[in-house]
Symmetry: C2
Subunit: 303 residues, 2 copies
Amino acid sequence: MRRTPLLQTDLHESLVIMAECLQVTGSFKSRGACNAVACLGDRAMETTGVVTHSSGNHATALSYAAQTFRLPALMVIPATASPNKVEATRRLGAEVITHGITFDNREQVAEEIAVEQGLHLIHTYDDWDIVHGGATTGLEILEDASTATCLVAPVGGGGQISGLALSVQSFCPTAAVIGVEPELADDAARSFSTGQLQTLTADPPTIAEGVKSKAIGERNFEVMVRRRLVADMVTVSEQELVETVCLAWQTLRLTVEPTGALGLAWLSGRIHRATPQQPTVVLLSGGNFEADQMARILTGGDQ
Amino acid sequence: MRRTPLLQTDLHESLVIMAECLQVTGSFKSRGACNAVACLGDRAMETTGVVTHSSGNHATALSYAAQTFRLPALMVIPATASPNKVEATRRLGAEVITHGITFDNREQVAEEIAVEQGLHLIHTYDDWDIVHGGATTGLEILEDASTATCLVAPVGGGGQISGLALSVQSFCPTAAVIGVEPELADDAARSFSTGQLQTLTADPPTIAEGVKSKAIGERNFEVMVRRRLVADMVTVSEQELVETVCLAWQTLRLTVEPTGALGLAWLSGRIHRATPQQPTVVLLSGGNFEADQMARILTGGDQ
């Protein structure tokens, strides 16, 4: 892994960016994937490799981790996933299956293949090793920005934010961890407010591809909702997301995919509450998406 | 100033990026501008402010420096300059003159205004304080990547590279500093190979707006050519520049303007010569340009 820099920007003096788009494979997912493969330990000898279902960044990250540990990797990716992400996965030596794979059947197909072929299934977020890998972001933030009082991160299945919340609340319980979702995929926010696990009934039409999971995982629900280690869950509109991807390109000079922009999208209008002595840290989770989509966003055609 | 991070990337293990696009105002120019204004010292009391002619990044940087030191600033910018850069300058409190200003008359107009209004003219590159400000990049690179044997940077008027060469050659004379220009604006490369100052006869039609200066400055010529502190001068095509802006967006996850991409454009095909023990450092000098231009580049329409 890289120690990604905490960045000051021209946007606001109280804002600190954790640029996980600069992480190996371009997203925070490498932290969890490498930890999960490392934690296989002796079990790695008993499997013929690893398998997962993913809409993209986890697949690339797990391929990287498997390549690093010299294990075969098989990726079950929906046929509609970003070609860049699929190509990046193949370049890292993984086998990719997209034929007949949908948002709805990918989990089941991956589980069946795992049993058939003796592969070890590494879930995208509902796995303690994945959560603990993501938790390293919190440790690094506390080391580099120890006076931070508020940490903001995207929420999909909850792997990243539950890790972040675990490490931050362990060492700095006064800091608030806030999760951000698209309004169009607000299952985690509803789970948080109702105290009951809520699920999406259909593929949400959000531009934030990385947070289309139907529901947060059991382990993530445990951390975020039951143990209340997340202080609040909020949502942003598609318009705010698109504007924030532009803002990140122009003012932060970073490539941030729509999912990665969730935290900043929510924070943009609220940053005036922070002070330089008590910075707000926003985690930009990834920077992988298609050039033609970015071109549409930059010219206002994807709003 | 910020201590911009030296970044490892997914592009090549031996490549280290100095991301000056993450610098205050989005380019390395802030280093020289702040040093030049700081060095005014008591002379600041005798002027009514500072003035310069610039196609963009120096204007923004000097506006920032003047605002920081509470001095008025006047910018003489060609009417064809990037609206984003002009707007950024105005937001920083500077007065901007673009009416009737061209690539050819901007220097003379700025000099006349300086005399008329008692302003202190701070040249874009032919100024030792500007050069010495830029030299801080070399010191930071040597501190953070002390085993680097090759440093690659863009060349326009020569302010950045002469500063870089001065500091690197002072402390690490075995390292090679290489300057990169567009083929379409190769005056510095010709000055270097002939040993005589060469000038462009017309506004060069390169996409790299920041290196359209007609010739390198006298002081820059002294450092680069007479004292041979630059090891080589090379050129890249417009096609290579455009492809590198895309590469930076997709693989480095950074916003790099075409000028800022010059060093990486030259290096992309040659990086296999480097080893992780002897990294090559490439300076990405800036990240300010228009969203519609980036959209055209991403969709292959500006090649």
